[in-house]
């Protein structure tokens, strides 16, 4: 399937924007990537995952997503969360280590609080951002972070006492290879490191979101449910939601975490381009009612006999 991504659109990337945050053990550092031209730019907050590489779980990861979304007209803001492997030695003994599920979500609120300052820091960005149009995206553990920001609730202590970290300024979510339900499904050998996956209330996830799942993303280390586990955030939440199933996609979704990344098991630049195109269309239409990019993309996908994936909606 042909792609409407245009790699020739110049993008500008700035790093790090440094935001001191009281109580956070290190300053919040961000990468901001934006098209060189254009105004009224919507924002995508991008939450990195927790892959095994030394550096991709930071603002230095996810270039294939950030650069391509920026070329589509988005301002992409990527924090380095406290869970980053670039910080893990320094923060090993800090409460919340090593995965910092709560701080990860709170980071995005700090970013939105300081959007004005961020805009003024990046050369030529001031006055070109539409702060009313904000979406969150995240991959893997970052997909979990995104699911919390669009309303999913967690009972960390297993006591049924659910916490909400929903962020009302976020109008849409994109959950890429995000984790699914807990309970008995969380039965893999690594389940012990993610106790906060145990009790998740996806029904509370009311903000519109697109769930992206690879139909070969079998996360045995957490669950024996199979690739459908990553579709739970769609299946178990209330509408409006959409599910993009990527045929042949594994956890790397073709390689979104980095260029030629070692942690990608299903390297496929065309798949990445397709994921970027569909997710970009979704966010654009969600943030700008009346924009038909998503409807057009879905129609084209449905009409394509050799489509890279399938979309369902509710």
């Amino acid at each position: 399937m042909s792609s409407s991504n245009n790699p020739a659109v110049p993008v500008l990337s700035y790093s790090p924007v440094v935001l001191p945050v009281p109580g956070r053990p290190v300053d919040l550092e961000l990468r901001v990537t934006a098209p060189v031209e254009g105004t009224g730019l919507p924002v995508i907050l991008l939450s990195h995952g927790h892959g095994r590489s030394n550096n991709l779980s930071s603002l230095n990861g996810y270039g294939p997503l950030a650069n391509a979304w920026a070329a589509q007209g988005f301002v992409v803001i990527q924090p380095t969360h406290l869970s980053s492997r670039t910080l893990s030695e320094r923060l090993a003994d800090v409460p919340g280590a090593p995965l910092f599920w709560r701080s990860r979500a709170v980071d995005m609120g700090h970013v939105l609080d300081r959007l004005d300052a961020i805009e003024k820091t990046v050369p030529l960005l001031a006055g070109r951002v539409d702060a009313a149009k904000v979406a969150v995206a995240g991959h893997s553990l970052g997909g979990f972070t995104a699911s919390l920001l669009v309303g999913a609730r967690v009972a960390e202590g297993g006591d049924g006492d659910f916490v909400s970290l929903a962020e009302p300024r976020i109008k849409a979510g994109v959950l890429l290879a995000a984790p699914g339900r807990g309970g008995d499904a969380l039965n893999g050998p690594m389940a012990g490191i993610v106790p906060f996956f145990r009790e998740v209330d996806f029904a509370a996830m009311t903000t519109p979101a697109l769930v992206v799942a690879g139909d070969k993303d079998d996360s045995r280390h957490f669950t024996d449910v199979g690739p459908e586990w990553h579709m739970d955030p769609y299946t178990l939440s209330t509408g409006p939601k959409a599910l993009l199933t990527v045929f042949g996609g594994e956890h790397g979704l073709g390689g979104i975490a980095g260029y030629d990344a070692a942690e990608t098991t299903d390297e496929n630049p065309a798949m990445v381009a397709d994921v970027v195109r569909l997710t970009g269309a979704y966010v654009r239409s969600q943030l700008s009612p009346g924009d038909d990019a998503w409807a057009v993309a879905c129609e084209a996908l449905a009409a394509d006999s050799d489509a890279f994936g399938r979309v369902e909606s509710k």
Partner: protein, 301 residues
């Protein structure tokens, strides 16, 4: 000594190149503050692109350099196949690419908001990795000969006053049949490489291109008058701990300490070689002898 100024990067900046078949695209990375900034033109290895080598480009930029990274014709992002008539001449087009970048520095600088007027285009270094080191070495004076020993023209570029050559292939007599067939230009003449340069090599870089061992990658240091310094990474393989990209699948010897040492030593070298700081390289050598002796060794002549 690392300064870590915030950096801004713009890509692609497109330089029209009709005779090349594909326009030349460049990533420009620069610190957001500072004036009189020196320039590093970086040449990627086989198959790479302007999206690679962020661990080097970003670090150099954060320490006061403007880094210019073209995408050469062998890039996997371009799909020039062996059947393409340009294929056999890519080594030469790579050199042209670096020259074109040097010719168009003003255009490239103008593409980055706030950079114009802050660059000192009289202070230029070239750097490169693997095939990119070979490409960069020619601008420092290294000769290129074909398999019969016939020399090509002189590619030395007087605008360039220093070089950093990472995993630079050695002399041509030990080429494997695969290398001789695919890279017939790999018969360098190092005696004419007279521009000052730092050679960086891994002492476990076992190449499929040569029947010699890792010492093949030290030839330029021993044979070039300009190659005054040799940084050897203990246990380093061709990917030198991961300079090609963050988390890159091409890295066979992932090692953040190794990358950090290369970042520090190359930066200190470039700052001294381009007359930004006369003391930085000496200080880095002293620091290295104390703190990094287990990661690598720095030899000078």
């Amino acid at each position: 000594m690392a300064m870590s100024i915030p950096i801004v990067s713009v890509k692609p900046v497109v330089l029209a190149a009709p005779e090349r078949g594909d326009d030349l695209t460049v990533r420009v990375t620069a610190p957001v503050s500072g004036t009189g900034l020196p320039v590093v033109v970086f040449s990627h290895g086989f198959g790479g692109s302007l999206d690679k080598y962020a661990p080097l480009a970003d670090f150099w930029a954060a320490n006061g350099f403007v880094v210019l990274q073209p995408t050469h014709l062998d890039s996997r992002t371009l799909a020039v196949t062996p059947e393409d008539p340009r294929y056999r001449t890519i080594w030469r087009v790579r050199i042209d690419d670096l020259v074109r970048v040097l010719d168009e520095i003003d255009t490239l600088v103008a593409a980055v908001p706030g950079l114009a007027g802050r660059v000192d285009a009289t202070r230029i270094a070239v750097a490169g990795h693997s095939w990119g080191a070979q490409t960069a070495s020619t601008l420092l004076g290294a000769g290129v000969r074909d398999a019969s020993g016939t020399p090509e023209e002189d590619f030395a570029d007087k605008r360039v006053t220093a070089g950093v050559l990472l995993s630079l292939t050695g002399t041509g007599e030990s080429l494997t049949p695969f290398a001789a067939e695919n890279f017939p230009f790999m018969h360098p003449e190092f005696s004419s490489l007279t521009t000052p340069a730092l050679i960086v090599t891994g002492d476990n870089d076992q190449s499929l291109l040569s029947t010699r061992g890792p010492d093949w990658f030290t030839d330029a240091y021993f044979m070039s008058p300009g190659a005054q310094h040799l940084l050897t990474l203990f246990g380093g393989e061709h990917s030198l701990g991961g300079i090609v990209g963050y988390g890159s699948a091409e890295t066979t010897d992932e090692n953040p300490e190794r990358v950090a040492l290369i970042q520090r030593i190359t930066t200190a070298y470039l700052r001294t070689a381009l007359a930004v700081d006369a003391e930085s390289f000496a200080a880095a050598r002293a620091e290295m002898a104390q703190n990094a002796a287990s990661v690598g060794r720095l030899d000078s002549k």
